[in-house]
Amino acid sequence: MKKYFMPILVAAAAALLAFSAGSAQAADPVKIGVMAPVTGAWASEGQDMVRVIEILAQEINDAGGVNGAPVVVEVADDGGKPNTAGLAAQKLVSAGVVAVVGTYGSSVTEASQSIYDEAGVLQIATGSTSIRLTEAGYQLFFRTCPRDDEQGRVLAAQVQALGFKRAAIVHDNTSYAKGLADEARAIFKTNGVEEVFFDAITPGDRDFTASLTKIKAAEPDVVVFTGYYPEAALLLRQKRDMNWGAPMIGGDATNNTALVEIAGAEAAAGYYFVSPPALADMPSEAAAKLRAAYQAKHGGQPSSVWSVLAGDAFNVLIKAVEAVGPDASKMGEWLKTELKDYAGLSGPIAFDAQGDRRGEVYRLYRVDAQGAFVLQ
């Protein structure tokens, strides 16, 4: 083995060079990166993000590109894990992208922020709602999704408005759900809703009967669940099975049609959640077009709103390139100062000085007896 070591090493280095030389050609096209969890636990979200953006990019290229230049989408899989996010980010930076859309998880985004920042690449996160992402002072960081504190505020306000007095808060110890639960908890201290239970279930578990039995014993009149739809659906279903009628209210991560498929319409009926409007409820013309294109290409609809927000991020990036050319810092400036009420898929889009999205996006939904999500 030893005597082959040198040649192998040289060959490996050469292969390395050759392999990467392919992506080294810089040319006219506008390169936009997409960092998304294409594999791993959030693969469905990531794959939807890629699909939506590919549809939008196709439309732009069919219409002659942006300022005459074609748009090239570079996808990097972050696996939904912070460890691999760094590599995905380096990959995109190396590919010479001017801006990046993504990603879904907050901790994953966080692990990539400093890399994009140091490389001068503009980043628009699409599902990362953790507050501190925009508090870190990165000039080129934006997001099209709202923040946990806004959602927490809306959620807590709705719980009060619906007349509930004793709330059991359940999260799942992901940074998203914990953040939301903490926000809601803080507001309950001031708005007269009593917190009677606060604990975390384990995501991926399927049996929550033990947790539900314990929650029930605390006698809440509403269960506030801040986690994701697979667990929310099981909670609803098992709550029904134990003949416990207390209503449940959740956050935007439960805005997924699979919730009703899993729980069944009967158990899901009466469930409330706050969320940006789903693609189906987006009145914009662009949204209708996306619905049709997605249906034609992949069948069905994107299962959640996050991939649509990724589409929005992609669209505003294209607008920025159109306005000031593919220069990340000029684009960042433009997005903060010039972009006013752009008609995005999910409604008007503008950013504040921190890169957070302006305006109210949350709506209250309720599941009706047929299992449809009804905007209240």
Partner: protein, 301 residues
């Protein structure tokens, strides 16, 4: 008290499922001394095969619920058993005479492969069995009400365990399996075809895992491609608690693990229940280094 009893039954229901998956681990381990890390994925495969039959092909619509579920059980047992057999031939048989850890890594590779194969075949989204597949019947017993399916799942676990135990101890093939478990070399000398024994074990174990997957799908109604990881780890823990290689041990371990989780969630903290389960595991092993029902060589399986 009512709270306690309720939690007790909660724990037993979860434990029954752990036990059922653990049976597959323990059987394979008994004969091959191999931790089949892909067992969790075979469990998930069972859930997805059931999904295809019951939801995509809507067997229940064609045959009526009882016949559909009966047929699905048979198909899941057969198909996942076949998958297990193929897995053994492809990933484990070439390594039978190699180092044990080589087989462990091969199993880990097979597990990654299978999990991603399931994702590519059925998609990354969570799949729903549909809530109206089974009639929603509740049984009242001692002042509590239980969903019927929950009792059935538990009953199935006990039934399978008993049948397996009887099979191992009352049939000639079972005798061969026990012999191979104790000493493959000696079993060969006694004219036992150890290779076929292993093949049989590698059909039964995965098939039982697949059955557990189907039951989880029916019971909870929700499946996803990575579900095998969590259940696999839990069931492995259960098998070890009971003493791996020991069939009643798998049952005891599974039920105990379920109880620890439920009572831990009830009386300590929901968020810490899994950590608590591992603490209990460690304490048991510190006191009894080979599990609760340790392998007595003469009655290994």
């Amino acid at each position: 008290m009512e709270f306690f009893i309720q939690q007790l039954t909660n724990g037993l229901a979860v434990g029954g499922i752990y036990a059922l998956i653990a049976l597959g681990y323990t059987m394979v381990y008994g004969v091959m001394k191999l931790i089949n890390f892909a067992h969790g994925e075979l469990f998930a495969l069972g859930a997805y095969v059931g999904y295809s039959l019951l939801v995509t092909f809507d067997l229940a619509g064609a045959l009526g619920p009882a016949a559909a579920i009966g047929l699905t059980i048979v198909m899941v047992l057969g198909l996942v058993g076949l998958a297990g057999h193929l897995l053994e031939r492809a990933a484990y048989r070439p390594l039978r005479h190699s180092d044990r850890l080589a087989a462990v890594v091969s199993a880990l590779g097979a597990s990654i492969f299978l999990q991603n194969a399931i994702m590519l075949k059925w998609g990354a989204r969570h799949r729903a069995y549909g809530a109206d597949l089974l009639p929603n019947v509740t049984v009242h017993f001692a002042g509590q009400s239980y969903p019927l399916i929950r009792l059935l799942v538990f009953l199935a676990a006990v039934l399978v365990m008993t049948a397996l135990y009887a099979f191992i101890h009352r049939t000639r093939l079972g005798l061969a399996i026990r012999a191979a478990a104790i000493d493959q070399g000696a079993a060969k000398l006694m004219g036992i075809d150890v290779r076929s024994v292993i093949a049989v074990v590698f059909v039964i174990g995965p098939a039982l895992g697949g059955l557990a997957g189907l039951l989880v799908g029916l019971y909870y109604g929700q499946i996803d491609f990575s579900m095998g990881q969590l259940y696999g780890l839990k069931a492995f823990t259960a098998a070890i608690i009971g003493g791996i290689g020991n069939i009643p041990g798998a049952m005891v371990g599974g039920l105990l693990l379920g109880l620890v989780e439920a009572l831990g969630a009830a009386y300590v903290s929901v968020a810490w229940k899994d950590a608590l389960a591992f603490v209990v595991l460690i304490m048991i092993l510190v006191v009894r280094p080979t599990g609760l029902l340790p392998e007595r060589v003469a009655e290994k399986l």
